[in-house]
Amino acid sequence: MSTTIAPSIETIESTVLDNGLRVFVKPDSRAPIAVSQIWYRVGSSYEQRGVTGISHLLEHMMFKGTPRYPEGVFSEIVSRQGSRENAFTGRDFTAYFEILAADRLPVAFELEADRMANLDIRDKALQTERQVVLEERRLRTDDRPEGRFLERYGAVAEAGTAYAHPVIGWADDINAIDEHDLKHWYWQWYTPANANLVVTGAVDPSEVFELAEAHFGILQGPQAVQPCDPRALTPPGERRLVYRDAQSQLTHLRIGYRVPSFATAETEEDAYALMMLAVILDGGEGGRLTDALVRGSGQATIVSSAYNGMTRLDAEFTCHAVCPNNQTETLEQSLKSQIARLSGEPISESELRRARSQLIADHFLNADDIFNQAMQIGQLEAIGAGWETFSKLEHKVQSISQAQLQAVAGRYLKAENSVVGILSPFESEAKCE
């Protein structure tokens, strides 16, 4: 795959309103619909113990109404437009979206602009919504062995950084956050200068800019502040978590390495190289891990590898395996030797070709959904890497050499950057206690 496979799909236009709100538009007219996403640069990594989960709780409160559109009215208006709406909170952002017929965009802007400035945070609604959030926490974390494991794993893997606490927050903090905390959080972060508006779909950029000016241009708010990040412990050193869970039926092994993200990499080549390394290990059934550990030695039932470089702080490069027989020691050694191979020997031409094809094809397949297109812009902007990052994807992926891959693997995928997590069922004796 040496020639460019398709014309560039990165035709994005952007502008900044006087109040600091930044607007990004990517037209795609295959269907008469549009996606509107408003991204606030605030998420769980902006929080401290005591108020963990506040960004997510505030996300819930954003559906509780304003003086002009009281509780329920917002959702009803959106629903009448045939629109799908929701929101999500991550470590580095809180975002709200509507997916709707392209000509209904003004409705989404009107409602989002109103709740950006006029949210009504009342104690009674908070008490009910807190219960909803605790139910969500039980569903995702408290009542699932893997949920319990991943929360503990995160605390160990991210020790010393703001990524150590869960996005949904620790239960005692969710219980303790009050109306005033939320009002302050809202006032501080939900300001035009701290927000990005992303629109994709069957729209004309200049019309979207005008519409954004009309609805959001009049809003005022404080200047955006920079989050204060504790200095990461570098290098954190090799860590290990063995977590036994009475309900778990399977043994899971997870090895993670702290690596740079698209935002923190000294040169972006490092981040692209990490993406390629993850695809060489996994990226489908033809990757090294499945070949060696599932089809080959049968040491694992399921394996995967991933690099999520879309983070504001450092990212993680992970390998995950489900172990059929609790023999985690041999499996851990095998996984580690696969990691060592990445830097120890050259990667074959055919593996390189496969990794390049996969990454480039995935890029286009991902663009099929205009929601994904907006997500990509929103995330790159929220972490501080800039939307332009992925416009170079094809070129970067083609140009990274075997030597660069080996060097990056050697530099980052090493013991002192690693954490090993094991989730295992209680042994049978322990069950009898």
Partner: protein, 420 residues
């Protein structure tokens, strides 16, 4: 809302549905065989294991070589096997340098699957691991219990994922004979969406099915029968929440009452935060994170299911709210506001269901497999447009009887044994 679906048959009798959509250099393909778990007979898991093995080896290629052959070209292949169909989904670039070798490989695999014994054992292990994982997941337990309870002795009752014992008993011989019977051209529906001309689509479709025998279509399944009692299934699971499912069987695709029933269920618990259940359970009482009502159609009949999860101490309150909401709707019908809200939402959201090539593929594949008219989406929306509150109420009453519905509770023993 018109879809310009083109339809034809391949030389060996496979039905093909195609929608050209340009703009992105990609192609989505689905081959749906009428070979879902409803065909498992006495061997739960047989259909899914067969389909999971399709890309695991042919006479001349190993599993590893097959995945290399696809991934060298950036293709993504995914197999899904539910109650009605076994689907092979392939997403890839439309550039012929990539497209043609990918389609050749897929055609080889589908027609000449080989079922090597090491692959059989590996897939078996993976499915057994899946079952173990489900045992620790309350939502999956609830789902499995619910379908078993409502479908009773119908072939839909067993889980497509199989059971520990049956999975252990399936051997390559059984897999080969299942494959021989159901993976035939006349039992297949091919759907293509993407950056292709009609001519290219015809060529690809032929390539995909060329190695399949003509075969014969699978016989129709017996229709599902409504429950004749009100079973309560209690599945103990140590957790802070109890998962609740209440419902019964409902209509198959194409039934005249389907739009009215769909509208009624949407009012009760469909989409977003505005439905009766979302409002009463979440917004007003803070009882649950999600409460929904889902209507699913299938070839032999569908299912109606109200679902929620609540903290253990609030279980009886939640059960009363859910049950009372359904009864109220059946007795009084929807009020005008609720009806209009649901109607506008359903009609307005139609373009969303067809937005990406993948969404479009989903819709076209359903139309193709279930023999629905090509203007199905349009007809459905016309009906939704004209239905009145009384039509909805009458349809709900014709097909849903709260006294003949199953309740499934997954939660701690002391909690679930107290309610019913």
């Amino acid at each position: 809302m018109e879809l310009s679906i083109q339809h034809w048959c391949t030389d060996n009798g496979a039905r093909v549905f195609f929608v050209a959509r340009h703009g992105l250099p990609i192609v989505d393909l689905r081959i749906a065989f009428n070979a879902g778990s409803a065909r498992d007979s006495t061997m739960p898991g047989l259909a899914r294991m067969t389909s999971n093995l399709l890309l695991e080896g042919t006479a001349d290629r190993t599993a590893s070589e097959i995945s290399q052959a696809l991934e060298q070209h950036g293709a993504r292949a995914q197999i899904r096997c539910g109650r009605d169909t076994a689907d092979i989904n392939v997403r890839c670039l439309s550039n012929r340098v990539h497209l043609e070798p990918v389609m050749r490989t897929v055609g080889d695999c589908v027609g000449c699957a080989h079922f090597p014994s090491d692959s059989v054992d590996r897939i078996r292990q993976r499915m057994i691991a899946g079952l173990s994982q489900e045992a620790a997941a309350p939502m999956e337990k609830s789902e499995k219990g619910f379908t078993a309870a409502i479908f009773a002795d119908h072939p839909y009752a067993t889980s497509p994922g199989g059971e520990f014992d049956s999975l252990k008993a399936i051997d390559p011989q059984r897999l080969r004979s299942f494959h021989g019977r159901y993976f035939a051209a006349t039992n297949a529906t091919v759907t293509l969406v993407g950056d292709l001309s009609r001519e290219q689509a015809e060529r690809i479709a032929e390539q995909i099915v060329v190695r399949l025998p003509v075969g014969e279509r699978a016989p129709a399944l017996p229709p599902v029968r409504p429950l004749s009692a009100r079973p309560v299934l209690r599945l103990p699971f140590e957790a802070e929440q109890t998962h609740v499912s209440i419902g019964g069987v409902s209509l198959s695709y194409g039934h005249a009452d389907h739009p009215a029933l769909h509208l009624g269920c949407h009012i009760l618990g469909g989409g977003g935060l505005t439905s009766i259940l979302a409002r009463r359970m979440r917004r007003e009482r803070g009882l649950s994170y999600s409460s929904a009502c889902k209507l699913t159609a299938g070839a032999a009949g569908g299912r109606f299911q109200m679902k929620t999860h609540v903290r253990n101490e609030a279980l009886s309150e939640a059960l009363s709210v859910v049950r009372a909401s359904l009864c109220e709707l059946l007795e009084q019908g929807p009020d005008t506001d609720a009806l209009e809200l649901a109607r506008e939402n359903l009609l307005g959201s139609l373009p969303l269901q067809l937005a990406s090539n993948q969404d479009l593929l989903e819709q076209v594949a359903i139309i193709g497999f279930y023999n629905l008219p090509e203007d199905y989406v349009h007809r459905f929306s016309q009906q939704v447009r004209t239905l009145g509150g009384e039509d909805v109420r009458a349809a709900l009453r014709r097909h849903l009887d709260p006294d003949l519905m199953a309740t499934v509770l997954v939660g701690p023993q002391p909690v679930i044994s107290l309610v019913g």
